[in-house]
Symmetry: C2
Subunit: 340 residues, 2 copies
């Protein structure tokens, strides 16, 4: 009943009448111990309520079994799903997730210190504000890093990405094949890499069809921001026939704004496309045409890439791209007659 001090392998050794190293051996996989001592030790351990201390083990093994996952709290809405899946895949590999939030660039230093201090086996970064310099620092300390949906050209890091360009090409192709000519791009927050990638993807896809200088309005990935920025835009500008939104939440916000406040129909008057394939995108009221990210495969790949890097530090970094999958809903129709 001593509450101050915890039960150690010495206590167990004493109670079992064996040496401390015997106890240690019992709790290590692939070490030979005689049946007799093993039983004595197990018995004593149970009586005393002994649990091996992983912290002490880490100090010697130089491996904590922990993977730092860095997220930003106001990221794209599908991040929670990504986090849950990463966690499961990491658990399968018998490691644990240590969570870090990075919202502002000025927290970077502190978060990095923490991550180093905790001696994690590797890092998966889902966040912006993770600059080339951070990557270099991790490399210097031999901590493997995998970026999720973020590329750092010329800074050899492994990354796992959805091919946003290809996804937006599919979406734009559909709009163009429906004879749309007047577009509006609703982009995500300017400091998000994914948002930037999708914006560029949309621009390039439009360019490929000869549409230059498409107007861009900026939301923050949220439903409300979409309604606000579309409303503001509509008050001073002629409406497009198609809106390309950088994620599904904003696309749904745009649809509601069009229907409720602009008094128009989707898709008859205005077509809307999104990105992500969140569950709400196929709800009956929206039936969004969008591109879904293969989250399951991407998260699995991220974890496997990281584990591989941890076990074989010499393998070169690789970038793996996954194509998005087009989901044709009911939010795109032929462009209304053009009155130009």
């Amino acid at each position: 009943m001593n509450k101050k001090t915890r039960v150690t392998s010495y206590d167990v050794a004493h109670a079992a009448g064996v040496s401390q190293s015997a106890v240690s051996r019992v709790y290590r996989p692939g070490v030979s111990v005689s049946k007799k001592t093993r039983e004595k030790v197990i018995k004593a351990a149970e009586d005393l309520g002994y649990k091996p201390n992983a912290i002490a083990r880490m100090l010697i093994n130089r491996s904590t079994g922990m993977v730092a996952v860095i997220i930003s709290s106001r990221a794209n809405v599908n991040f929670p799903e990504v986090l849950a899946q990463l966690n499961k895949h990491i658990a399968v590999k018998n490691k644990r997730v240590l969570l870090f939030t990075l919202d502002d660039a000025d927290q970077l230093e502190m978060v990095m210190e923490q991550i180093f201090a905790y001696q994690v086996d590797g890092v998966i970064a889902l966040t912006a504000h993770f600059e080339p310099d951070s990557v270099t620092q991790f490399a210097k300390h031999n901590i493997p890093v995998v970026l999720y949906n973020r590329e750092l050209p010329d800074h050899s890091v492994s990354s796992v990405c959805c091919n946003h360009d290809q996804g937006l090409r599919m979406l734009v192709d559909i709009l163009v094949s429906h004879h749309h000519q007047h577009f509006l791009i609703m982009a995500g927050p300017k400091d998000s890499d994914v948002a930037r990638a999708r914006l560029n993807g949309a621009r390039n896809a439009l360019l490929a069809h000869g549409f230059t200088d498409t107007t861009v309005i900026y939301g923050d990935y949220s439903y409300d921001s979409a309604r606000e920025c579309l409303s503001a835009y509509a008050q001073k500008n002629p409406l497009p026939t198609a809106i390309i939104c950088s994620n599904d939440s904003m696309a749904i916000g745009a649809i509601d704004e069009i229907r409720q406040n602009l008094g128009l129909r989707v898709p008859e008057d205005i077509s809307v496309v999104g990105f992500d394939g969140i569950s709400a995108s196929c709800w009956h009221s929206y039936q969004l045409t969008t591109v879904s990210q293969p989250t399951y495969f991407m998260t699995k790949a991220a974890v496997e890439t990281l584990i591989n890097l941890i076990e074989n530090p010499e393998v070169p970094p690789e970038t793996r791209y996954w194509p998005g999958k087009l989901i044709e809903g009911n939010s795109v129709a032929a462009a209304p007659r053009d009155d130009d």
Copy 2:
């Protein structure tokens, strides 16, 4: 450039020409060191790329600064938000979240072993399959536990809960005041505590108005399950005038099913209420009448309760209830004329 061995405080001490403990002092808050040595140490540390090793520190301090958060992956849809907020509050307290997933009862043993091994400072459990026995075990090892939205009567644990009874009373009162008499309860998964609490809350609230034996159908908290179970029910039974759903996702599924496949209107023909106050609940197409959980306050309270328990092990466990907040949308209307 030695990659095998990391730099320790001894290396820094050697380079700076001071003792190892001098280095240690520089990296500990509230310890006095002369400006001169501090500078020498900092300089040497930067040159060598020294980072204090938190693992070694933990071994002595008996505090890892880690809090285990146990989630189940197929939990209610608002858990990701809860997790993100818990993480932020924990970070503010200068601790870190170590994530564990507990999906099946038979993983319990393993997860418990892990949590013990990692010597976490405390545990926040958001999961089912967390039996009284688990609580007892943690108590035996003096590891503070806080349950989130889960009560274990007679097993003194601290918990932070939304008052589901009160929330459902508000919802039922609204339906009754709109003259509804024919109800249907759409409950969540049977192995979820929250779902059970909400089911009981609905039953009791109806009972208080004299409605007994209300029919219950079971979904799994998801949009799709709501559509399926409502569709199956509607094929063989007369429809109610009001459906009480155990969460918003199912309420939205019910609304879509009613509108699209049953050919009826919400709220004119059938009223629907939900629970949670997820962001989609106020989207224009649904405008759900629901009760929102004060997630911010609940997560904050959970963390504060835990920290308090960590710092003062003698404080008695407490259960804190938070009332839900009624959000009146546009999914409830007067009951259609009763033809009985």
